[in-house]
Every structure is written in C-alpha cells, then in structure tokens.
C-alpha cells in the first residue's frame, strides 16, 4: 500500500492532509477531534496580539449553492482568532504534547513592524509547535488595519516581514499568499527572497457572494450593510491550481516548497494539487461543510489511486504534471482534433447543437429524427459540445492522424510540432529548426 506519510520542511505527518488555518483549528477541542479523526496536521487559527480582535455578532458567511444546496462556494468576513493569545498558546502546547506525530503549524498575523514579530515568535516556539505560517492573505477586515492581504499585496513587505521572521526564529517559516494580486509569482519570489521555507496558497478570494434583493444589501448582511469577504470552497480550486502551478514552474521559485490550499474536497482535488507541485494539501471548507470524517475518504482515496498508479510515496506524485504546464505560445498548432458523437450513447437532447449553432461554429447538424452529427468542415475542435453534453464520453475529441486532411482548413495534418513562435502568421516567428 502507498505510503502517505510526508515530510514537509522536515515536519513529519502521517498523511499530507492538514487542516488550514480557520475555524476548524481555532481551539484544542476541535483540533483534538480532527486528530482523532485522522488528520495529518493543522495550521492553527491565526493568532494576533491582545487585546484580541472581535468578530461581528451577526452572520459571517455567504454562500453559493448548487440546485440541491450543494455548497459550491462560501465566503466569510471572519477575522483572526477572537480568543486571548495565552489561551491559544496554552492549548497549542497541550495538543502538540499529546499528539507528537501530527504537524502543528501556528498561523500568525501581527502589525507590520519588526518588534511585533520578534515578540510573538518566541512565544510560539515555546509551545513546541513545528513551524509558523505568516498570514498575508485575509482580504477583509484585517487588511483595513494594514495586515493580511495588505501585506501580501506588496512584494516588498512580504520579503521584509519574512526576513524578520527568519531572523527571530529557528522554526520553519511558511508564507501564506493571497490570490488577490495580479501576478502570484511576484509574491512567491518575494517570500523566497526573504528566506521563506515554503509558501502556502491560496488564502480566500475577495468576493461578494450574493445580494439580498429585499434589503438591497450584500450578504451576509449585518444590520442592513454588507462587506466583501473571502471566497473559498470548490469554486476557488481552479484559481488555486493555476497559482500553485505558476509558482512551481517559475525558475526563480521552482525549488520553493508549496503547501496547496483552495477548494480541496476529495482525494482527486488533492492529487491534482500534488501533481502541480504542492508538497501537501490544506483543507478548510470541505471540513467545515462535512465535518472531520472526510479525512477517511481523502486518505483512502489518495492511497488507492496511488496504488493503482504504482506511486509508493507522496513525493513521487509531487510536481509530476509541472513539466506539462506551459505557455499558450508553445502549444502544438499541428495537433488537430474533431468532435465525434457516439450515436449509441446520444440521448438526443440537442444541447451540443444549440451550443455549437448559437454560440460556436455551426459544426453540428440536426436531422428531422434528431440525429446530431459533426460537420468536420466546420468543427474547430473547441470542445464546447463535449462540455455541454450531459452524457459522459458521448462526445469525444478524436485526433486526426498525420497525413489526414483537415476538412476545415483543407490542409494535410502534419506530424511536425509547430507552435505560435514558429507559425507563419506570427510576424515575430522564428523559423522552425
């Protein structure tokens, strides 16, 4: 059976699944329940200085649901921990003492000056925690006070604070990045330059999930007003995957360990993060949505998949897909496919027809008997029909072999790799070698 035990920044955990810094990790009671359920580690809910912050006393979550009220995305306007610092530190220490085999990372957010960081780091060290995560991510509330994403959006600050932390502690320092930036690589490079041992991402995405059309206010609504909050859950996974991949394939940060976060709900999500370069996986919303018991599906699923694929350890998976993430300009333009409709599987809904006819390339014909067929001379291979078809594998994309004629362009398909940099239509094209 595949070995799920991981070592991330030298921190051991029995599996690569950590609970992200959030309500599930806010106190001893929750964290012990999580460990009993089987979680590999936690990043404790972000600590700050006393007097501790206060949260709103009205609703703090917004949501986006699917038809059966599946929670597709959630946002929150919660701040960092609202419990006294010493209470948290005491509990962290107790938990780490009782659960030495689990990873215990402490998330921190204090004002942007060296004394503050120099003051809090030793307190954390004293608990026996395995490392710290610098929360440069929260997009709401704390950012208005010059913390959280207010730091994470300025690469110079990231570098500066990271450097202070490395100076004042021997613990591994992980920097948690905000996705609310134009180019995540700048943030990762700054952390790297400041000496970070790893980055973790993503924190939540700035958002308004919905508007109460009676109250005419964003939700969650507090006494008639609402504010932007941090979006998380399945909806943010694609954003997170891209950001993880961007950092993993950036030559400047390629060696920097990444803790992947954002919408991880099943083993498959986690495997995708690992494949794109994450060394482990942090989970928040999925646990909040279903409880800690999901860890059993996560570990069993990942393990089964690894067995099937012959991967013995998590390390063997990490970064496997990174070499295949490239820029658009390097995609092979001589790779020609056409949509193919399996008439036996077709249920005649006509969705492909409506999609292609109304919004794409008029490449699907419809007969009186509701037989739908691809017109090769029009099909640009966009894949839209595949995505709108309700029947899995009914429409597939089939590659035209070299030597075949592409009915749309009238050209013979070449087996030569040809990307945009080499394409004759590109004024800047370099001649193919």
């Amino acid at each position: 059976m595949a070995n799920l035990a991981t070592e991330f920044l030298g921190i051991k955990s029995p599996n690569p699944f950590w609970l992200a810094s959030a309500p599930p990790t806010d106190k001893q009671y929750n964290v012990e329940r999580a460990f009993r359920a089987g979680w590999g580690g936690v990043v404790w809910k972000t600590l700050g200085f006393d007097p501790h912050i206060v949260n709103v006393n009205g609703p703090r979550y917004g949501a986006v649901w699917g038809a059966d009220r599946q929670l597709l995305g959630m946002n929150n306007i919660e701040l960092i921990t609202d419990r006294p610092l010493d209470v948290n530190l005491r509990e962290i220490k107790a938990v780490k003492r009782d659960w030495p085999d689990r990873a215990m990372i402490v998330s921190l957010m204090v004002p942007c000056d060296e004394e503050s960081w120099a003051a809090i780091l030793p307190m954390v060290e004293e608990t026996g925690a395995d490392g710290v995560e610098l929360n440069f991510g929260c997009p709401h509330g704390m950012s208005e006070r010059g913390m959280g994403s207010a730091v994470g959006q300025v690469p110079e600050y990231i570098e500066m604070v990271t450097r202070w932390c490395k100076k004042h502690t021997r613990m591994p320092v992980m920097v948690k990045l905000t996705p609310n930036v134009a180019d995540i690589r700048n943030a990762a490079r700054a952390a790297h330059k400041g000496g970070a041992d790893a980055v973790s991402l993503i924190n939540t995405v700035n958002s308004i999930t919905s508007v109460d059309l009676d109250a005419m206010a964003p939700e969650p609504t507090i006494d008639g007003k609402g504010t932007h909050g941090g979006y998380c859950g399945p909806a943010v996974k694609p954003i997170a995957l891209n950001m993880v991949a961007e950092i993993a394939r950036d030559p400047q940060t390629a060696a920097l360990p990444i803790s992947g976060i954002g919408g991880i709900t099943t083993w498959r999500d986690a495997a995708e993060f690992l494949a794109l370069g994450a060394g482990n996986a942090q989970v928040c919303t999925a646990a909040m949505n279903y409880g800690f018991a999901i860890i059993k599906e996560l570990t069993a699923g990942l393990s089964l998949w690894m067995d099937e694929k012959g991967y013995r350890s998590v390390d063997e998976v990490v970064g496997r897909a990174v070499p295949n993430v490239t820029d658009w300009q390097y995609l092979n333009l001589n790779y020609v496919t056409k949509a193919r409709i399996d008439q036996d599987a077709c249920i005649k809904c006509g969705r492909c027809y409506a999609a292609c006819e109304d919004t794409s390339h008029q490449a699907i014909s419809m007969s009186e008997e509701r037989v739908f067929e691809v017109i090769d001379a029009e099909c640009v291979a966009c894949n839209l029909c595949v995505n709108v078809c309700p029947v899995e594998n009914c429409i597939t994309m089939e590659r035209l072999p070299a030597g075949a004629r592409d009915e749309r362009t009238g050209q013979t398909v070449s087996d030569r790799y040809l990307n945009w940099t080499m394409h004759p239509n590109n004024p800047m094209a370099k001649a193919a070698e």
Partner: protein, 444 residues
Amino acid sequence: MTNAPTTPGIVPARLDRQTLAANFSDVEPPMGAHEAVVAADRCYFCHDAPCITACPTEIDIPLFIRQIQAGQPEAAARTILDQNILGGMCARVCPTETLCEEACVREFAEGKPVEIGRLQRFATDTLMARDIHPYERAAPTGKRIAVVGAGPAGLACAHRLAMRGNDVVLMDARERIGGLNEYGIAAYKTPDDFAQAEIDWLMKIGGIATRTGVRLGETVTLQELRAEYDAVFLGIGLGAVNALGAEGETREGVRDAVDFIAELRQAEDLARLPVGRHVVVIGGGMTAVDAAVQSRLLGAEAVTMVYRRGRDRMSASEHELDHAATAGVRIITNAQPVAVHGNGAVREVEFAYTHDGPDGLKPTGETFRLRADQVFKAIGQTLADLPAGLSLCNGKIAVAGAGRTDLPGVWAGGDCTTGGEDLTVTAVAQGRDAAEDIHKTLNG
C-alpha cells in the same frame, strides 16, 4: 364500520372512514419547494425539446422548468397556463408516461424522466395558492358566443374567448360544471375538490356566464343557439356508453362504470357508497382502471378487470395498469363476456377466451366464469346525439382545422370530435384552438 370486504352483496361501509380517507387521498403527493428545485435541475433544457411536441397543448416545458429552477414557480405557472389554462388539472390527470415524460431524453437515457407532471403541479399550485389569476380581458368585442358543454374543452374555449374580449355563455346539462373533471376523473387524482377550485379560479377572467341544467337538443336547439349567438362551440363529450351485447346484461348489479364513478365523485360520504364484494369490470381503458381501483379502495374483496384483447392493446397505460395491480386488481386479458348469469341479480359472468388473429377477434372455444355481485361496463363511451345539421366521422362530430364543423358558425372540440386521444389535455388544446379560430373569424 358495519360491513366488511367479505360481506356479500352490494353494500356500503366495507371500510372504516379513516381507511377510506387514506385510500382516496392524493395518489401522488405534491412536491415541496426544495424537491421541486432539485427535480427541475435534472432538466437538460433540450434544444427543440421533444417533450413540447409530445404535449397536446405544447407547453414550453423546458422554459417552465427553468423558471422553477430559477426560483419563480409563479412565472413557470404562467408559461404553463399560457398554453393550457387547465394546467393544474392536467398536471394531476395527464398520463405523462405516454406524453411528455415518455419523450423526455432522460427517460430514454436512464428510464427516469424529469418529473414534468409533478413539476407542473408544483408551479400551478403555487400560483393558485396565491390566488393570482394572471390574465386580463382584452377590450370588449361585443361578440357573444355560446359554449355548450362545460368540460375541459368548453372551459378552455370559454376562457380563451373571454380573454380575447368576447362574452361567453357556458351551458351544461349537468348540475355542476367541469364535465369529466367533476364527474369522471378518479377521486384520488383530484382530491379536495380541486376541480371546482380550478374552475372558480378560471372564472376570475370574467365575461363567462354559466347556465347549468341546459341540455342541447332538449332545453335548447342548435338552431336557436345559432340564431341567438355570434358563434357556437360544442364540447359535449361522449354522453352514451357502449353496450356489452352479452346475454343477461340488464340484470340487477350490472352498471355503467361512468355512472358509478360519477356517483363516487359526487358522494359526500364515501362510507355510504355501496360496492360489491366480487366486482368484475369489463374494459381496458382508463375508465375500467378507475372503476376497478376505486372499487378496491372502497373495500371490495375481489376486483377483476377483464379485457377482450391483449395487454398491449389496452388503452390504459402501463403506469395505470401497474397502479391497478398495486391496488390489488386482477387483470385478465383475451377474454370477452358472453353471458351474465344469476337469479335476478348477477351472480356470475361467463367469459370466452379470445384469440386476436389477422381476421379479428375469435373465441377460442374455451370459457370460464367469474363470481360477481357487481359488474361495471367500461367498454367505451360514444356520442349521445348528433345535433341536427352536423355530420359524423368515426362516430364523432366531423371537424376540420381548428374544430370547424359542417355548419358555419359552429365549432366543436374535445371527446365529441374526431382527432386526438380522448384526454383532458387534448380537450383543452382543441377548445383553446377553436376559441382562437372563432375569435379570428368573428373579429378579423
């Protein structure tokens, strides 16, 4: 409870009131709001959707389902009612398994169609519960139209005519309007007096005067109506019943199924409605199923439905036959009645097995007898009297186009005319289309 299912003869109160109430409650309970949204989400919003074509009234089904999905069942109801003003009744009584739901691509894909009928009911019930009548009358045209027969055909015709600004006089021979909605449809499909509630709601359009107890051919003639009104619409249904042609057919205990059903529908207290211990129903359509099932629900010990041809030729749908089987009705096919035996009252019915060959139905020579103290005949309804001046086609009023009869100014629709299946929804479609044609003819 004074009697039991095993009490001999035709007697009331075979079951206690509580059991009766449970037996005759909603056969398909309404959907809750969340259930409806989830069910609606299964709709693929097909291009040129096959379900629309399969609906005789051509409701834009994908659109109304999408409106439910988007949280506006009232808007969905309008989409339905625009095409079918009796969308509420149709949602309850349509054999959707042979109409829209049979055409649903998910029926084809996985044998589980989108629950169109139940969703339609959810939408229309939601709107009606809010007591919204979403239509208004157009400016008065000054035209007056007589609508004879207040079943689904007449009601749909009257509503559409009134909506277009015409004045309608809706007349019916019966005491209550509604036609078979009121006197025919199985009680468990339309509990809580839904038929009348729907009619009250429909009448909110205004401009429809009702006259009950008026029988065309007796109280008033077609001639007179044509003289008095600008146009006449006939939606008189099928008032007569086919005879068995079996010896002893007039014995005590032998009865038309439609009469029994009408009595049941009008009964204020089901515990007072008599039913036999051994009931035999002859026929293979909806009427036969409804008579058989409701006899069982009233407490008859043994109910047998006998049809002269094979099961595949029965006009009742598989879904209905399953329902009958679940209710404990025994179904015998390929057998036709030859004699009703008894000493005064019926005691047995004798059947001959049949073979349905290339040259028609032939007895095989083998016979059998079924014990019976009550026999219901349900072998089809026919047109009672053809009003003078009209012609017949297949035993029904001949019409062309949108219900035009041979007489100028006279339209007809519903069961009494040729064309379409004898279903509530077909009657609605024909009444509606005739109304549009009448309106156009009269008002240009």
